[in-house]
Amino acid sequence: MTYAISDMPPRAATHGFPCFVGIDLGSTTSKAVVLDEDGRILGRGITNSRSNYDLACRIARDEAFVDAQMTRLARELAADPVVEPHVSVLRPSVERSFRYRQHVRQLATLRRVCFELAAGQGTLEGALAAIFDEMEREAETMFSGLRPRPSSEFFRDVAGGQFQALAEKIAAERRVPFETVVGVLDRAMPRVENEPDDLSFEGNARDALGRALGRYAKRSDVLSAAVSAALDRVIAEPPFVVRSVGTGYGRARLPFPKEQIRSEILCHGLGAHATFPQTRTVLDIGGQDTKAVQVDADGVVTGFQMNDRCAAGCGRYLGYVADEMGLGVHELGPLAAQASHRVRISSTCTVFAGAELRDRLALGEKREDILAGLHRAILLRAMSLLARSGGVREELTFTGGVASNQAAVAALRELVDEHYGEGRSEPLRINVSPDSIFTGARGAALFALRGPAAGPARGEKMS
């Protein structure tokens, strides 16, 4: 069974806590942002887009609601003088417990599905059992707060990575072919992702809270009662979706009326404006495309340029490069930052990426130096789009998946200074938000807040 997108919005509530939802269905990730009536961010959710936009959209939105409820709970707690001093410790703890619960539930499903697939194959079952036992043990510490949170938050990546690492060891010990063990995982994962499970705030919060409180110092009854009451209040007033607006690559898939679909260009412009109100130019480098957007003082788009049909120089290109080097995409930036010099790369064509890379490696160039060149080459393409759209005159906000790559940001910084920095008393400001990936969804949510008339951005309270 799969989720149908027409299930949305899930709660047909006509009362409750009013909120506004923006959904950004990207080519690699789907994002959701929930705002309150004042335009403040309540929650964010993200998941990988998979091949199933409907499901991705649902999961991202559910995640955002969980996050929103957490925020509301934190607000309730902060309002209580008894609990307030503890909020800064409690909230992360509750979240961790909650994630742990979600993780454990999904892990149980994965285990079940894997055993179904491996049924009757004794040695394989044995290996799987050993793997899962270990994964379950690891899960405890993963969410204990003693270790940093996993860098990639998708279950697929977290559990998949663990499984592979363990499978390498255990398959060898038990003389089961590694490919067979991993093959089970590959078949099981899509089923797990497509299987419905109650990951909602309402269904899991109380338990998570109990666990968090249990872990939190000596449990005080007064504190416990106050927190429990706050949770009751939050649950009693479920979120009520006043309006949703969709954007992104897959936006046409959303079952919204036409006026609730907005181009991602407009959403990125407005989202960036909300995050950094002095923004006049937005550069967004996503998986499939790159956009350069100019906005006015109200966040209204005044011009834009997009790459042509070729995905050269987009996030996907970095993906190819990472594959070619046998690295994860998130490892590219840090590696490039270690470069001692920069190899000049002429083609950011995804088709030639492999060939050019092999050529360079064969010539004895170091990986980090090649990567430094590649990052510059990608940003050079972006610079052209920026120039086409009207250039950089004031604050520039860099968004999209590639904005979280430090080498890309450094290359942009350098190029903007080279090309637009001359004669300025201080360098042009470049904004990168840690939540930059949510920029489009935030813009969409702001459009939702504004109502069907989709008037301009005026008078909204921005965080």
Binding site: R344, S346, E356, D359, L380, S384, L385, A387, R388, H419
Partner: protein, 402 residues
């Protein structure tokens, strides 16, 4: 800042050919146009740029200015703003040219001539007018009608109007006498380049393509007299140098008349076993290879006639009836070329549309050929090395077997 450029040997010992080529390279590929700046400072005069495939340099010189052939930025400029002016499906040369202009490197040029090479360069003339309104901009509309009283007359009028405009800029309006003097200087240069070509045909191992190319291309930015001195010096040095011939195939390179391949590509061809005995590289300064001055014809008229009657057949000229194919076959025979490398810039409509016609002519004549596309900043030379190597091997095996 202009860097001092030495075009001539300072010591009394004659320079070796590779030393001359090295000096030429520094002049030819300097995207800051330091040699032109130096010339302007020295003389206090102006410089006029022109794009491939042709500029009437004789008139520019007669007007007291320095003609400079601008052939893009090659692989020496990083393109940012250029891509903001040109879509991905247009060739590279105009992109890097505008990049240089916006970067200030072309400020040294007081005017720019845009020949009717193709639609892209034609439109670039309009872009120049819009972007650099203070500079002189002229479009050179070559006649495709070749009758003396029709096309040639139109072209001669155009050249006279150009002389007038250039004169207004420099203060020296060239008359027939001044033009005759200028034509004589260029005719001398053409004769020297013809001897250089003859040397390549006789003994290609004495004049490697990378050296020849740098030498020829230095002529794009140097005053013609200075260039002639260099060519003369190089020919003598190359003849005297001790260089052993190798078992290479002799090839003609065709299609690089406008956007130039990177020099690394030419080196790669030779390294892969191909002696380039003829080419249409750097055509901007070599479109007319024959002597322009004509007995009994006034200078402006002879210059007009040179385009119509003496310009090399090339893709930018309209010549029906397979004239260009026949010309190529004849040229192969004259240069004793074993085969033809059809090298065309990516997205170049004239060169690429011409290719199948040339291939047909070569097939009929039984002349082997191979083709590839390049851009002025092509960095991947390995595939070209493989292709040229295979081509050279197949030719040599074929000739040995024959």
């Amino acid at each position: 800042m202009a860097t001092p450029v030495s075009t001539q040997s300072t010591s009394s010992a004659p320079r070796r050919p590779e030393e001359i080529a090295k000096a030429c390279e520094a002049i030819a590929f300097d995207v800051s146009f330091a040699p032109v700046r130096a010339w302007k400072e020295r003389t206090g005069r102006k410089a006029i740029g022109f794009l491939p495939i042709y500029g009437p340099r004789e008139i520019v010189t007669a007007a007291g200015m320095l003609p400079v052939a601008v052939m893009g930025g090659g692989d020496r400029v990083e393109i940012v703003r250029g891509d903001a002016y040109f879509q991905s499906y247009l060739c590279q040369l105009p992109r890097s040219t505008i990049e240089l202009a916006l970067g200030g490197q072309l400020d040294v040029l007081d005017g720019m001539l845009f020949p009717a090479t193709c639609d892209v360069l034609r439109n670039l003339s309009g872009m120049w007018r819009m972007s650099f309104p203070d500079k002189l901009v002229r479009y050179l509309d070559f006649p495709h009608d070749h009758r003396p009283l029709v096309g040639m007359r139109f072209w001669e009028n155009d050249l006279r109007a150009l002389a007038h405009d250039l004169g207004a800029l420099s203060g020296i309006v060239p008359d027939e006498t001044a033009l005759a003097r200028s034509i004589a200087l260029y005719d001398e240069n053409r004769a020297l380049l013809a001897s250089l070509d003859a040397l390549r045909v006789e003994a290609p191992h004495r004049a490697p393509i990378a050296e020849v190319y740098a030498l020829v291309r230095a002529g794009a930015v140097l005053p013609v007299e200075e260039h002639s001195v260099l060519v003369r010096e190089y020919i003598a040095a190359a003849k005297a140098a001790d260089r052993a011939p190798r078992d290479h195939a002799r090839v003609l390179v065709v299609g690089a008349f406008c956007e130039q391949p990177p020099i690394g590509l030419l080196v790669t061809l030779e390294r892969a076993g191909c002696y380039v005995v003829g080419d249409d590289l750097c055509l901007a300064t070599r479109l007319v290879g024959e002597q322009v001055a004509t007995e009994g014809v006034p200078p402006f008229a002879s210059l007009a006639r040179a385009w119509v009657e003496k310009a090399r057949p090339t893709a930018s000229r309209y010549l029906p009836n397979e004239e260009k194919g026949r010309w190529l076959v004849d040229r192969c025979r004259a240069l004793r070329a074993d085969g033809v490398v059809l090298a065309a810039p990516s997205f170049c409509d004239p060169a690429l549309l011409e290719q199948p016609m040339l291939q047909t002519a070569l097939d009929r004549a039984g002349i082997p050929h191979t083709c590839f596309k390049y851009a002025e900043n092509t960095a991947q030379l390995q595939p070209i090395y493989e292709q040229a190597g295979t081509f050279s091997d197949s030719i040599r095996l074929f000739t040995e077997a024959a």
